[in-house]
Amino acid sequence: MDRVILHIDVNSAYLSWEAVDRLQHGALLDLRDVPSVVGGNEASRHGIVLAKSIPAKRFGIQTGETLYSARQKCPGLLSVPPRYDLYTRCSKALQELLREYSDAVQVFSVDECFVDFSASIRLMGDPVTVADEIRRRCRDELGFTVNVGISTSKLLAKMAGDIKKPDKTITLFPDEITTKLWPLPIEDLYMCGPATAPKLRKMGIHTIGDLARTDAAILRYTLKSFGQLLWNYANGIEASEVRPSSPKVKGIGNSTTTSRNVEDLEHADLVLLSLSESVGARLRAGGWCTRLVAVSIRNADFASSSRQRTLSFATDSTMQIYEEARLLLRELWRGEPLRHLGIRTSQLTPADGMQFSLFDLDVGRRQALDSAIDGIRKRYGCNAVQRGVFVNSGIRPMTGGVGDDEYQMMSSML
């Protein structure tokens, strides 16, 4: 029996969500009606476009380009900063809505979900009708539009949703592949990116149909197992399950790309301290303690490395995480200019069951301090209290946002 899979994708997520939030709070302008973008902070470093409105698209503005170049294309462009707490909230609202239709909901990313509808057909009826209902409810109840792709596999459902936007229900069942999928350019095939596409075009493969009709052995010869994957995808062959996300948090981390190269230990330590503040605060807020601290670095040439250590005790203290991170960095770093640092903690245990180190006499005072600082920040904001070393340092006292740890994802694997 064939499965029925739905892929739900929010149209211009960051921008739509920002637009709806503003409307709900009394704004008279809908950001989606004017050329607008969600862009990173321009003042601190080179901001880039994270999301764009449809009017902005007409000016040729693309996701990923700098705000500077976007403004050149459209001088009156409105830019708003990203708000990740808003996006998490909207994403959860979407997930909740989808769970009314099936319990097999896989949160693929903050703005995309897969739903295995197979078991629900008998109860709820025709998937296209249900998809239209989902779209209507997202629009009317949640305030933003989504695309829904329907097929028998996650791959085809996802590709279906990409065919025409916004606010559409599109099917791409196996018998529709030749008419709907094959005419598309190969760049539109999932997993075929800016590195692979030119290679395929050189081989005379310009459309997904060309790729599908090419002998798989030739593709394997040029692109190895990836070639076989592409061929499978072009022929709609993909069978992964819809995996409902486990709600369990596996780790908490924060990382940052610095605005200028990090070239000495003092600078690096400051960045690590700043990251430790964020990580520590989030651990305590979640009621976790960690036993594993990992530091990752990336140099100006994009080479990454990391080092981790399991502690003999569990901790939620900013300073303990920081001390461990400092040691790890000194073991890891060879002194070349760095551009990206990260701290990751895992092996989490609930804070109330914590095993302290037998040698640690200061734990009570440290916890009191951390707790007092958390209290002040909760009431008066994160900038209300900061460590003295950050004054005039050019580095923010707390770096890193919500982080992607909630989604075992940002993976391109279905």
């Binding site: 709806v20 709070h25 009394g26 008279l28 302008l29 909740e96």
Partner: protein, 103 residues
Amino acid sequence: MEYRSPSEKQLQQMLNDLNHGGGMRPVDVIARFIGIQAPRPVKFRLPQEDVTVIVDRIISQSEDRRAGNRMIVYCCESEVRGVKRRYELKYEIATCRWYLCSG
């Protein structure tokens, strides 16, 4: 007289003002909580003007769930200076804040 078009910053500020609090403003409210029902506003005050209005009648109550942010919307009516006026009061559950809208 020379005309100077608004600077980028001024334009942003104008648009910001339009976007934020254009149609809605925070107000102080006294409300009645009975049992497990949603709170019912009794009277509200505009903090800046120090004006108080008694809610004569709640015509309807609904929920606004946009962007996953639950707000209870009360369509209300009050007689102010001899004229019956309709407006909306919104209660934002996540922040426990009340807003007045023209409705």
